[in-house]
């Protein structure tokens, strides 16, 4: 009994530390896709690319993305102010609920959780990203067949030729 309490405490501290250190606090939310779907978010974002689920970034990132749509990764994706406001409200209502870091990357692929899952384990050959069918790590749905519904389950990954 004497030993159990410090041991338990040590385990708790260790768990807490690991949990906090996970992806340096840059973790996507769970779930990544809320049940509420905003029609404008869907229509406008998916006008050019997959409508990325709000839980993939923290609110601070979404605010930056939405404030810079006229220079959106090299493209003018500007929106009328009322539409931009509605979409910003939706994205910042359901941001990642596991993101504790103050880092607010513009790119989903710059998040620590993304890099850990896609680049660090050597599971995906660098050549795969260059395939015409994949083109960029931003094209989630090239491999994650359920990405547009917020389904990133490993079972539903099909890496195209």
């Amino acid at each position: 009994m004497k030993f159990i309490r410090p041991l338990l405490l040590a385990m708790l501290v260790a768990t807490a530390l690991t949990a906090q250190a996970k992806y340096n606090g840059e973790d996507r939310g769970k779930p990544v896709m809320p049940s509420e779907v905003n029609a404008k978010w869907q229509a406008e974002c998916a006008g050019c690319h997959m409508a990325y689920p709000p839980g993939l970034l923290p609110a601070a990132s979404w605010k930056k993305v939405m404030a810079g749509l006229d220079k959106h990764f090299g493209t003018d994706a500007s929106l009328p102010a009322t539409d931009a406001r509605e979409i910003t409200n939706y994205l910042t209502k359901y941001p990642s609920n596991r993101w504790t870091s103050s880092a607010a990357p513009l790119r989903i692929t710059d998040g620590e959780w993304f890099k850990a899952k896609h680049f660090n384990k050597g599971e995906i050959a660098p050549e795969v990203w260059k395939r015409a069918s994949v083109k960029s790590p931003g094209n989630c749905n090239a491999c994650h067949t359920g990405a547009e519904k917020g389904d990133f389950n490993e079972r539903n990954i099909r890496i195209p030729k």
């Binding site: 690319h49 090299g74 994706a77 929106l79 083109k135 960029s136």
Partner: protein, 129 residues
Amino acid sequence: MKFTLHTAAVLTSLAIALPLAAAANPILDGYKAEIKGTFTVAAGEKLYKTVGPNQLSCASCHTDSPKNVGKHAKTNKTIEPLAPSVNAKRFTDAANVEKWFKRNCNDALGRACTTQEKGDFMTYVLSVK
């Protein structure tokens, strides 16, 4: 006889009016009214193929013909045909048309398009059958 002539006259005027009606577009009419000018297919086609400072043209994503299904140069996203002759939804919503002119003129030409250019562009795209 009188009746037949009359019918023929009606049919003839219909035959003339119908293609005009099909080509008419309220958004294009709006541009026309705005600058009180005229637009040409040739100028629109030239604009469609103009490569701007970012090495991009309309054709980069919309392909050589507005009738074709295009592909986003960066995201691989399918782009439905621009020509209303094959995609009736195009050029039916003025706000949407303005939104895309603003974005795409900036991307392809590095600047906003003039009303003259928008009108020429639409005249060309609407002419593609």
